[in-house]
Amino acid sequence: MLEMKRRFFLAGTAAVFAAPALGLAQTAKPAKGGTLRISVDQAASVIHPLLTRVNPEYLVTELLYSNLTRLKVDMSVEPDLAESWKPNDGLTEWTFKLRKGVTFHDGSPFTAKDVVATFKAILDPATASPGRNNVGPISDIVAVDDTTVLFKLSGAYADLPVAMAYTNARIIPASIATGDLKSLSTKAVGTGPFKLVSYEPDRLIVVERNPNYYDPARPYLDRIEVQVFPDISAEGSAMIAGNVDIISTLQPTEYLRLDGNAGVEVLRTPSGQFCNINFGCDTAPFNDARVRRAIALTVDREAMVNFVTEGFGTPGNDTPLNPSYQFFKAAKQRQKNIAEAKKLLAEAGFPNGLQATLIASDRPAVRTQLAVALKEMAKEAGITINVQTMPHATYLEQVWKKGSFYVGFYNMQPTPDGIFKLLYTSDASWNETRWNNKAFDALVAEARGTIDAAKRTELYTKAQELMNEEVPSIIPSFFDVLSAKRSWVSGYQAHPRASVFRLDYASLTDKAPKRG
């Protein structure tokens, strides 16, 4: 039932915002051929699939490589290089059956050995892959035969098939994984739907159709050009002029500018992407949950949606999950309550209010916006917040994970477990609030060892209630993912995860300009 509601939520909103696109995609058989231009707002500096860190880089490696599984727009998982998978009863061992007859771009055959070598490379600390903590609690990988891989886990983990779709878990040849791994910084040897033609990190990346892709029907396009636009208004101009077919990520101002232009369709989908205000839960005065809750009670969530996301978002409830995620059940929405906030502050020993410095990095600019909004809202409860901004590089070095009161910004993760284990459990890889709550850890651990959806929903709901009560961070609102396309592009949808693009499903209609 819940699952249905969530699907309905996603499908419904997608239908409202992308109705023309969907209509086309469903009725017409995708045309083959053509060159599609997609623009990104920052350079794809890294094409090494195990080392990518930002969305444009994920876009490029998604074209060139395959994962074992991939994420659909409704956040459910579908086969990619793995045809099927099944766990043992304890969810501690997973067996993946691989597709047969797949070859890498260099012509060498894809086998279980490549999967084993890839994951060993990801897990090797020396590789320094950002995916190391995100591909699941893998303790060993075994090639059972050429088309069977066994993952042995250090604990029960129901989400392994989703983790296999992670942005850094692209499969590379064993010969490179165990040989000259660095060579992937300048060349690409994947099994993906496209092959690398040319690569200029700051300007243009060109790929062309892989004639030996495992699915003979896909990709539909002959060629994709990824263009880098450092200036977002230039990006918008290129879209209006018809020089660019898809803008991968759009800011609200540009969304409004593009909306209504002939031949341009703006796309919008709710997402679990958020900006949060982190408390260092080990530092006074934020080591007192009453203080944290008091600040959370000063927040007007609707106003935050309007101000911080410029209306392109949904209110948050101080937990990182929202209806975009699986296993989500809505709890009672926290409302602004200044009297209650003052009372809590007095109880915590601050009857005359509180002073604190909130640090926000300058990238993206919305962090500062959020900080200023909180400063104004908290005033009413006698809380004086000094907002301090700094360059992003300085923030990463001096504040992130170390600070006691600062603004964070996160993409939606593939699963609830993904976001909890990333930010909020005691052993989280980026435990930036140092909340360290044993009861919460236990709930998340139990959920990751549970395959029954209803039971998982219950456990995640309890975990969220605990967070809502303790407020390790304030999550005032979630962002919608915005993008835009020319109407001659079909089969492209904005993905809630933002870092997933699925351009092998995109095609051009006969109205698209012919490009040499």
């Binding site: 903590n133 230039a234 020089n243 992003h392 070095e397």
Partner: protein, 315 residues
């Protein structure tokens, strides 16, 4: 101009670049960010960071890092980008090429327009033509590039659809499209240069026209046009060379905004990206290349100056 002077100037350039390299190296040491953290992202493990620092030589004493770096530079190796893993030198020189193309086209357009405009304004001082030129040049100097660039894109690309709005196409890849993409950025940069130089030409020429030797020439019965061509212009244009040479400096550094708005991967933009990513080798190489270019252009300007005005004695 003696060969001795040329040699001295060349030594000065090398010395300047050495000082620049020292300053850049010092500044990159002070930047509040860890290059290893910037490279590996927010998810790096401690062991990976340590391995990378060792690998990049970040653990060595600063003077040693500098010595190693300088040694490599002297052998023509500008280092490897921390961001992309590719050699920095070729990338930066390619970017410099794009910036210089932009600069020379803009200077060309400027020379074609600014000098006649300046002459008209000077000769017809106080008349309508002078006022119009002055007005245009004041406006040109006052308007920042991001305004003219944005307005130009809005009007000529979005509204009229005459020109491609943004992006860079190498001339070798598609000449016609490459030129079309350069029109707007070149015009935007030229507006400021024209404003700048036409005012310079006007004021120099006005000064020259009031000197005794011009009056004497006029009294001898030489026609107005001849006086202008033979006597006045030559002297009035000399300082213009200096201004143009200085403008090359501006073109290399100051057009970052234009490169940004029109998505032209020139050296200014490469440097910004490098600084944002704390890509130390790229920052060092970029600054060094820009300083070298600037020095060389000014060197050429000085030589040209001396060659045009034989009275100038260098030793």
């Amino acid at each position: 101009m003696s060969p001795n002077y040329v040699a001295k100037r060349l030594v000065m350039i090398v010395y300047t670049l050495f000082i620049v390299s020292l300053i850049v190296f010092a500044i990159t040491q002070i930047l509040p960010a860890d290059a290893a953290v910037m490279m590996l992202g927010e998810n790096a493990t401690q062991d990976a960071l340590a391995a990378l620092r060792e690998n990049m030589g970040l653990n060595a004493p600063v003077w040693q890092q500098y010595a190693i770096w300088l040694g490599h530079v002297l052998q023509g190796d500008l280092g490897t980008s921390l961001r992309t893993g590719q050699p920095v030198g070729p990338v930066m020189f390619e970017a410099l090429g794009r910036s210089l193309l932009l600069a020379f086209l803009s200077i060309g357009l400027m020379l074609v327009l600014a000098i006649p405009l300046g002459i008209i304004a000077a000769v017809r001082r106080g008349k309508i033509a002078d006022m119009v030129v002055s007005l245009i040049s004041y406006a040109g100097v006052a308007l920042p590039e991001f305004v003219t660039a944005t307005v130009a894109v809005l009007v000529f690309a979005d509204l009229m659809k005459w020109l491609p709005p943004t992006g860079y196409v190498p001339l070798t890849e598609n000449f016609a499209s490459g030129i079309a993409h350069l029109v707007l950025p070149v015009c935007v940069i030229s507006v400021i240069l024209i404003a700048h130089v036409s005012r310079m030409v006007r004021s120099e020429l006005v000064d020259v026209l009031h000197t005794d030797y011009i009056r004497a020439a006029r009294l001898k019965g030489i026609s107005r046009g001849q006086v202008l061509r033979r006597h006045a212009l030559r002297n009035a244009l000399l300082p213009t060379i200096t201004i143009v040479a200085l403008d090359v400096g501006y073109l290399l550094g100051g057009v970052i905004v234009v490169e940004e708005i029109f998505a032209i991967p020139g050296i200014g933009r490469q440097l910004i990206v490098a600084i944002q990513a704390r890509d130390l080798p790229a920052i060092q190489a970029g600054v060094l290349i820009m300083a070298a270019t600037y020095s060389i252009v000014n060197f050429i300007a000085d030589i040209l100056y001396a060659w045009l005005d034989k009275r100038i004695q260098y030793d």
